[in-house]
Symmetry: C2
Subunit: 639 residues, 2 copies
């Protein structure tokens, strides 16, 4: 297939960062523009190619087919056609626009460019003179406008409109859609607030959008309105119930939260917005709450895949240590929101523990959300399956597909950072940053690697003129021993789970070589995760592995297997399998007769079926369910 990307010049005419933090007083790190980073061949470039060539074109077709664009036309023409899709579906289109706009930040793609312009006209044709814009609450539902904010997603949709419009503005300088978003935001700011009508995000998201709008326009009212939303003071005026407060993760002061609960994506987006708010205000109560919530998540509520939100019911967090495998909900959007939140936490702290969570989510619980061919999506990302259909082309609630798409298209913006001290290398991939230090000195940093399959990364540091600054290289927490060489000289004191700071005077031609410990690892869960007692997960580098039925010996059945003791993995790169993956093999055993022949319950002392040795084959979790519906398991019983 002919690639649709016909130009790779830096089309972004502005500083097209994911987050514009250069004026944010409490951001320690600052984004490097998407347009300043060129990704070379490798793991993510394959995914990004599919994203542009397959995912985005098919998804906009589907959005058209399901009437999501038609909704705007119907409102504009004031016809009485019923609204298509759920109440929040405007946001799905906005998120597609954002995804496409991030593509444009890396280089023009005329089809996407033209499509966004066309959609901008369609969307704005539905906007009311007041600025109000929400296809569900225009027309027959107009009387309910702003009367059911606990479910209406009116503010949520505006948040996504703003994010999409800003991404497009940053890609092209075209502010038409952003001006539409501003009109709606201004309508909100003028009519709602402590002394005006009460507002509630209901599904947090607008907080992020407004703060990015503040960063883009410099207008402080947007930041203040985000602060008002986060302040959660409208509980009484809006008669909110306890169950709503819990579910929505809004409605009470964000700073009163002490644990994650309720709808996972809501909680994560609220935390994103709160971190953005902290980056601008430095309000210590926010920082403390965010730290408390983060510790709650990583100690009690996060899957090994970086996914969150254990329960189908309410798409919610479970209790501490409630991390079921087959029943895991772990919506793709929640893993992405976790990634987005940890990015913001990284920006305000510079601490690699947040980057570690991002990497976990990105390579596993997010990456699993889209099929290798880019046309099928997971809504749920369970860690065990008996082979139900998990990937679908379309969901009535189509939040996840464009969310994955915007993550992939914005990826160049997450690889590097700058700070006053120098440059950060967060993620490892063939990639070249053409940017500058914060003092303005031009700098190119170029990574060469076959990560995550290979454990070596070469980083060439080429300042335009020699300069003293620090290169911060992230050493993942999983790489217990890491070798770092500078121009061939071995370095000491390299610690896992930290940025390794190399402060020196850098000159053109300097290079750093990093060698990670990528031995396959066996990981156990806390005994309080009841389902994983006696079971282990296999990891290698940033990747969580799994067993899929099709790779196992014939006449054996997944869930019937045990991993034998010992670490003896065999690694094998298989170019033709699942887009090219490193396969891991390990000795195990299976029962000689099917476990289905055994009773459901038996006396402990009753004889069990005899077992026989087999070789178990593990593939990366993200790649499962790409060869039809099949059983899969991440946590494997161990002898």
């Amino acid at each position: 297939m002919q690639p649709l990307v016909i130009s790779i010049f830096a089309f972004g005419i502005l500083s097209a960062q994911v987050l514009k933090l250069d004026q944010s007083p409490y951001a320690k790190l600052h984004d490097v523009p998407v347009s300043a980073v060129t990704m070379g061949d490798g793991f993510w470039s394959e995914r990004r190619k599919v994203n542009v060539e397959k995912s985005l074109p098919t998804m906009i077709q589907l959005l058209e087919q399901h009437g999501i664009v038609e909704n705007f036309r119907n409102v504009a023409s004031k016809n009485s056609a019923p609204h298509n899709g759920p109440v929040y579906t405007d946001s799905d289109l906005y998120k597609w626009i954002e995804a496409a706009a991030f593509v444009l930040q890396s280089g023009d793609v005329p089809f996407l460019h033209a499509k966004i312009d066309e959609l901008t006209d369609t969307i704005l044709s539905a906007q009311e003179p007041s600025g109000y814009l929400n296809t569900y609450y225009q027309g027959v539902n107009a009387s309910k406008r702003f009367t059911e904010m606990y479910r209406s997603h009116e503010l949520y949709c505006l948040g996504h409109l703003l994010q999409a419009a800003i991404a497009y503005y940053r890609a092209t300088g075209n502010r038409k859609l952003m001006d539409g978003g501003i009109r709606y935001a201004d309508y909100l700011v003028e009519n709602f607030g402590p002394e005006k009508r009460p507002a509630l995000t209901g599904h947090p998201e607008l907080e992020m959008g407004l703060i990015e709008l503040y960063r883009t326009t410099g207008q402080r009212k947007y930041l203040e309105f985000a602060g008002y939303l986060l302040s959660g003071v409208e509980r009484e005026r809006l008669h909110l119930k306890d169950s709503q407060i819990k579910y929505m993760f809004s409605g009470v002061p964000f700073t009163s939260r002490t644990q994650f609960e309720g709808h996972a994506v809501r909680a994560m987006y609220a935390s994103c917005g709160a971190t953005d708010y902290y980056a601008e205000t430095g309000d210590a109560r926010y920082r403390q709450t965010l730290e408390t919530l983060w510790r709650d998540m990583v100690a009690h509520k996060m899957y090994i895949t970086g996914g969150v939100g254990s329960r189908s019911q309410d798409e919610a967090f479970g209790n501490d240590y409630e991390l079921p495998n087959a029943q895991a909900y772990t919506e793709s959007c929640a893993a992405i929101a976790n990634y987005m939140w940890n990015w913001r936490m990284l920006m305000v702290t510079g601490e690699s523990r947040f980057t570690d969570v991002m990497e976990r989510s990105l390579y596993n619980g997010t990456n699993s959300g889209m099929s290798l061919d880019g046309t099928l999506y997971c809504y749920r990302n369970p860690l065990e399956s008996t082979g139900e259909k998990i990937r679908n082309e379309w969901y009535e609630t189509s939040c996840c597909p464009p969310n994955i798409e915007r993550t992939l298209s914005s990826l160049p913006g997450y690889i590097f950072n700058t700070s006053k001290q120098g440059v950060y290398v967060n993620f490892f991939h063939n990639a070249t940053m053409d940017w500058h230090l914060e003092d303005g000195a031009k700098l190119r940093v170029r990574q060469s690697t076959q990560y995550p399959w290979n454990n070596r990364v070469e980083i060439a540091v080429d300042p335009a003129v020699p300069a003293e600054f620090s290169l911060f290289v992230r050493i993942p927490e999983w790489s217990k021993t890491t070798a770092v060489q500078i121009n061939g000289a071995s370095q000491h004191g390299v610690a896992a789970g930290a940025y390794y700071e190399i402060r020196r005077r850098w000159s053109r031609g300097d290079h750093v070589e990093v060698t990670f410990d990528m031995q396959p690892r066996l990981t156990r869960a806390n005994t309080l995760v009841r389902e994983n007692v006696g079971r282990v997960a296999v990891e290698r580098g940033p990747l969580v592995y799994c067993l899929e039925q099709t790779d196992q010996p014939k006449n054996t059945r997944l869930f019937d297997e045990e991993l034998s003791a010992g670490r003896g993995f065999t690694e094998e790169f298989s170019r033709d399998l699942l887009g090219g993956i490193t396969v891991l093999k390990h000795n195990g055993s299976v029962a000689e007769t099917p476990l289905e022949d055994e009773p459901l319950y038996a006396a402990l002392e009753a004889p069990k079926p005899r077992s026989k040795p087999v070789t178990l084959t593990f593939i990366p979790y993200y790649a499962w369910a790409n060869r039809g519906q099949d059983s899969m398991e991440v946590w494997v019983p161990r002898q």
Copy 2:
């Protein structure tokens, strides 16, 4: 407190069986009237006393308070008051009436008697001349009548009305309520059917009610209409979706089912109705489907407590072996429905495997559904808990409380059976049956036992005149070695999991002594029940045991414990604990430092906290959550 039961004469003037099977051609066993069995002191009599003195009086108060009775008055007076409670709430009142009517079958209780008469008048005042009666679909929703049978519960409510009315008729001879039910049933039969309007139970239940009405009135049209409902031929006329077919367990031929799926109570009630249908028709396809479904349940989908329905989502069965503990849904109603279904299966087969399931459900997953004081109920019955509030006085959906109440009040009718060969002893409790053999010969059978605490049961068999017949004594499948003596002489060939048939000429004074193996047992689950890998359950006799936090050593935490190897249980009857229970103690160990201090995930080789020995104390599962909210666990990790 003064007992409300003021008369113990056999008030039931008719043959007041739970099921009237004496004319059912394919019933091998036949019910003994509730009124023919007097229960003495013991395990269930305590529960039944609380049921009459506390549960039934408080529940009718709550039904009144929540407007469930008022709904009928509102319809009768044609006022425009909104309907109270969910769409199906008429049935909650009917089920209360059925529960109270079964009490009357054991002896008059004037308060209950008068209350039913009063409620009968109230209910019938709302009935339309056509016979139609459903408070939700009278008044403002009348136009939707019979247009949304997939959710309307109109037929479900009629089913419960018939069951209640029949129980009351059998207790008292008063057929006023039953005649009301018949008018509605006749309306249905006249207007719906293959050549008329299409009908669907949506929530199966009416099948049972109609067949019991057939058995009571002899009118075959009710049996035929039940057969029509079970035939599931209206899928096309009603435009039913696959997901509805699955969820409702109706809408396609019952005989096309090959596994349990969808809403558990619906599936169980459908199976009850289908078994009733088989008992009347002998249709072999039904018998085969029922057998297939039963095997599916006991091999893949039943909790050790006899509960079924793993998922909160849709209150549904899960996949095979999907039996989560903390997230178990296991609605009380589903355990009861399982009990009801297995009763019917026992009646048509005479096989004790069905009685075994009944006992499991009755003593554990059903009995757990009501607090010891009779005023708080479980809707869910999980097998593990971190201490959430599980028992409540009232549920908006109040199906479970009166369901437990009717189970308790009808209990005397389940202890004995007759067949052409003689008498069956299904359950063990101090109880006297004054009834007759199927040839009419009068017979008293009297059990003396302290079951389930004690393993001995004495059965005195006193025929009015000496006669040859069989006494079938159920030997539970868990009693691997059982001693049976007849008049002191030991018997041979006693097998677990079967009725032990003693055929002889019986004379007044004959007695049988049965001694079960009640050693505490350690039970493991099939490895395919992923959550229970490496864990065991403790059972003793019919009781499943659990650990509750409050009984464990101070400074230890449940979920932090492991059971040590070896069977060494200590048994201790504690009269003052939880109404009098046998407590089991076993050696175990706990971590010396809290597991909460450990990370969520760690390398397999990383050191674990050291453990120290403790004594673990087990109580019967049914008795948990009677001392406040606390952690609980049935499946315990084992070293």
